[in-house]
Amino acid sequence: METSLHRIAINSGGGYVPGLNAVVAGAVLSASNLGLEVVGIYDGYDGLMTRENYPEGGLVRLSPNVIENLIGSDGSILGTAARTDPFRFRTINAENFVEEVDRSDELLEKIRAEKIDAVISVVGGSALTGMHALSVAFKLSRKGLRTVCVPKSVENDISVTALSFGYNSALSYTTETLARIRTAARDVHRIAVVEVLGHQAGWLALQSGMAVCADVVLIPEIPYDLREAAAKLREDEKAGRRPSLVVVAEGAIPKNDDASSADSSQNLQEHGLRKSLSPLSDPRFGEGARVIERSGLAAETVALKLQKLTDHETFPVVLGQLVRGGAPTAVDRQLGLGYGAAAVRALDSGQSGVMVAFQPPDLKFVPLAETINKVRTVPANSEFVQIARALGISLGD
């Protein structure tokens, strides 16, 4: 039987996205109105698991008069935890061996000892570390922890919510930067190939590319043929438009029959752009050498191939993780505040093991089991795709 609600903890798993403090503020202000106390756990669950590493004890009491000043601020008052895991907690045993041990029971005991009745965890999305934070919350929930999750993602790829907080800020910054790059590229008569986040979902590439009317946008959901993209660039040029900007999501994949990429030894559709077009993708370099995961390869590879196909000078630019930083936009501020407040409302109404989701026009609560292992991708026939085509943007297909 669940105990009554007096003290709520809040933490953040995975990496930073703009608006984290707004979520915390939303939860604290809402809880305060209900007469509930809120404490923050530093760095995911590290503040509780390794309290000895925190001079102030790993927990911080969050009062409304302090937190409300941080709503629009850059950074995270609670820190983040990209790689820690109470189920595989890295430690050094008495033999000086490094090992990973399951300390989830110990964590739950510490939560009880701190008289914490429930935990709000900010988690997301589909990338390895984000999925990991959600899975950890799901497993703790199955072990009896009263918990509500809030979705964060700069790729907007969490399946159950129309808008994750952090996405709008990343989209705004990406759009602004793309506009600057395009001006610079046009000025020197070159084509910029800009890689943006989006391993499985192309929202960020598509919507930022639309916002600046890029010449070409390549996303994971629509396999591309660079010959098509090159043909579009040539047509534009004949029509008097100087091509200057190609946006490529890091997970964009070429079509199977894309002859422009045929020098790769791997089946291109199978491995994705970053993998199949890796400089070391040739097995002649040795067993296990074919996949080299590093940011920038998508832009680098597409830039080189487009240069061959168009005889225009190209240059790669990688925005990547840069767009995760910064202060939240107005949309992410109000979304974060709303998510934080809704998480408290869910707990106050007796719900647990759910994620707050924006399903316009409502904020709803979706069971965690329905949120894991899903990715919100761009439907190939979606309105956004049709608008992009209507604007004359090539999607490389």
Binding site: F87, N96, M131, E270, A289, R290
Partner: protein
């Protein structure tokens, strides 16, 4: 002390033939599972765990429509899943797939799901190793135990190396030395050449990059040099740019090894990213995503310091 028997079983990761960088001559390298360190640049992440562990190659998956056998028990709830869309190949939620073993991989007809690590007896291993005996004779090679950390299976390693000697095969091990001294003391009598790592000098930096400090490692190596004066030791350092590619580290290792005449060489191994694929197969994060191999100029500069210390010219000849 020794529990070694001829029928000893060990957890073997892989047997690799025709290796030329794992000791003298052409060698067959036997990789054992289990490691007590967590080097961020590790190129054998599949060797770290103490038990067989789940691995997955999505390129071999034939999809939910054609198969889908792993999407039901005995796989744990949520461990395997398929995303919406035309690609119906299975994905793994590595957090929910913890503990999956043979009961999970055995249902996969294509080998997309498999386990890293299998139990083998000393005879099974050496029967395969012996297939290369002609090459050992011609080149002065033999068998090398690597890992993981081969000294963490001391009884199996002892039995295997002793039996190799019985069969006339030269023996070597690759070790990082982070084991109880008793393990080293048990195994080393059966080893001809000991290839041992000096990854970082400073114990705090060693802990940051490797996971544990090096106090016991250095104590073990010093004791090994003195306890086994007739064995051949070769020190090695994987050169990681921005981590240990400094002259200070090289000189400190030389200061440690040069007083011991049985340490006959110090070799530098340039960092490479060949193991990165395997992190994906295991669902692990490769933390050195943006690291690149050291330049040939850096390697030459650092090797020149070693050559000078050993009294060699740059071409490797005694000066």
């Amino acid at each position: 002390m020794s529990q070694a028997t001829p029928n000893q079983k060990g957890l073997v990761l892989n047997i690799q033939h025709f290796c030329t960088n794992d000791g003298p001559g052409i060698r067959t390298t036997v990789f054992l599972k289990f490691c007590s360190l967590r080097c961020k640049w590790c190129c054998n992440p599949e060797s770290i765990g103490q038990r067989p562990e789940l691995a997955y190659d999505i390129n071999k998956c034939i999809g939910k429509k054609a198969c889908g056998k792993c999407l039901q028990p005995p796989a744990p709830e949520g461990a395997m899943y398929v995303l919406d869309g035309p690609d119906d190949r299975v994905h793994i939620n590595w957090d929910l797939a913890q503990g999956c073993g043979e009961e999970t991989t055995s249902v996969c007809p294509t080998g997309a799901l498999y386990l890293f690590g299998q139990e083998m007896t000393v005879d099974q291993v050496l029967d395969e190793v012996e297939q290369d005996s002609a090459f050992y004779r011609e080149s002065g090679g033999g068998v090398t135990l690597s890992g993981g950390e081969c000294l963490l299976q001391p009884d199996f390693s002892t039995a295997l190396l002793a039996e190799a000697h019985e069969r006339g095969i030269n023996t070597a091990i690759e070790t990082a030395g982070n084991v109880p001294w008793a393990f080293m003391e048990e195994v080393l009598p059966h080893v001809d050449t000991v290839l041992h790592d000096h990854k970082l000098t400073d114990p705090i930096r060693h802990k940051k990059w490797v996971g544990a400090d090096n106090t016991r490692i250095l104590a073990n190596f010093k004791k090994a040099y003195e306890t086994f004066p007739d064995k051949t030791f070769i020190a090695r350092t994987p050169i990681i740019p921005g981590v240990n590619d400094d002259e200070e580290h090289i000189r400190s290792v030389l200061a440690f090894i040069r007083p011991h005449k049985n340490v006959v060489d110090y070799q530098l191994l340039p960092y490479h990213r060949y193991g990165e694929t395997k992190y994906g197969f295991l669902g692990k994060v490769y933390e050195l995503e943006d690291f690149t191999p050291p330049s040939s100029e850096t390697m030459d500069r650092l090797r020149a310091i070693i050559d000078e210390s050993f009294g060699r010219t740059a071409a490797g000849k005694t000066g």
